[in-house]
């Protein structure tokens, strides 16, 4: 049984590595991500948001929903710690 599991792991790993062969090269300017959405952000950030730091404008403006979710995750983590660790009644 252990041997079958090991073979399954290696097969899945080999499939995943085979899948990366079709990926675009690292930093390839002709890859779909670099041709479509990145130039749009690079060209329009200062024009649209008056923010020189592209990372900030993508994080808080173009991807604002995502950052709202991240903040909620941190909030939830804090509340979960309060519920699990803190003793409310003394």
């Amino acid at each position: 049984m252990k041997r079958i599991a090991l073979i399954a792991v290696f097969l899945t790993g080999a499939l995943l590595i085979y899948g990366t062969v079709d990926f675009p090269d690292w930093g390839d300017p002709e890859s779909p991500a670099s041709r479509h959405v990145s130039p749009r952000y690079i060209e329009k950030t200062v024009e649209e948001t008056a923010t020189p730091n592209m990372v900030t404008s993508v994080l808080a403006d173009y991807r604002g929903y995502d950052t709202l979710g991240e903040t909620t995750v941190i909030f939830t983590a804090g509340i979960a710690c309060i519920l699990l660790i803190r003793r409310l009644s003394k």
Partner: protein, 158 residues
């Protein structure tokens, strides 16, 4: 328990450093527009300054300056600021988190209003991150203290 640390050098250095650490945290939050930084990083620096205060001056000192209730309110306040700015954009006729609409209430044009909206949500993120860090630290430290007290009581009863 983290108690009053009786070392003049540590206490003095921490007392001198903490205001500058907090100022730097506020700078990282406010300057996220044009340098690396933002709400998450600045909030962590602010939270670390409060943790340093309790490490050097004892946990009771931190409790005196920041009550548990205040920390809980700040934790929620950050998310409320973020979501509230989103809803403000919604009520001003835009989409959710479409900061350009804030130019109707702010004395700036819609492009600079987007920048102001980014600053607003970064402040919200910073407040939540700071409060959650302090809250988790206080919970863990308080747990330690209660355990010690329970152990001492156990020994006393024997």
């Amino acid at each position: 328990m983290i108690s009053h640390f009786d070392d003049l050098i540590i206490r003095t250095v921490c007392r001198l450093l903490i205001p500058f650490i907090q100022l730097f945290g506020l700078y990282v939050i406010a300057h996220g527009h044009s340098s690396p930084g933002g709400g998450f990083q600045g909030g962590v620096i602010l939270g670390a300054s409060f943790i340093l205060l309790s490490l050097s001056h004892g946990i009771e000192e931190l409790r005196k300056r920041m009550r548990i209730r205040t920390i809980l309110i700040l934790t929620s306040l950050g998310v409320i600021i973020y979501a509230g700015i989103g809803f403000a954009c919604l009520f001003l006729g835009g989409k959710y988190l479409d900061y350009g609409r804030l130019h109707l209430v702010l004395p700036v044009d819609s492009v600079v209003a987007r920048s102001m909206g980014i600053l607003g949500v970064e402040v919200g993120v910073g407040i939540t991150v700071m409060a959650v860090m302090v809250s988790i630290f206080l919970d863990l430290a308080a747990e330690e203290k209660e355990k010690k007290e329970a152990e001492q009581h156990g020994i006393h009863h024997q």
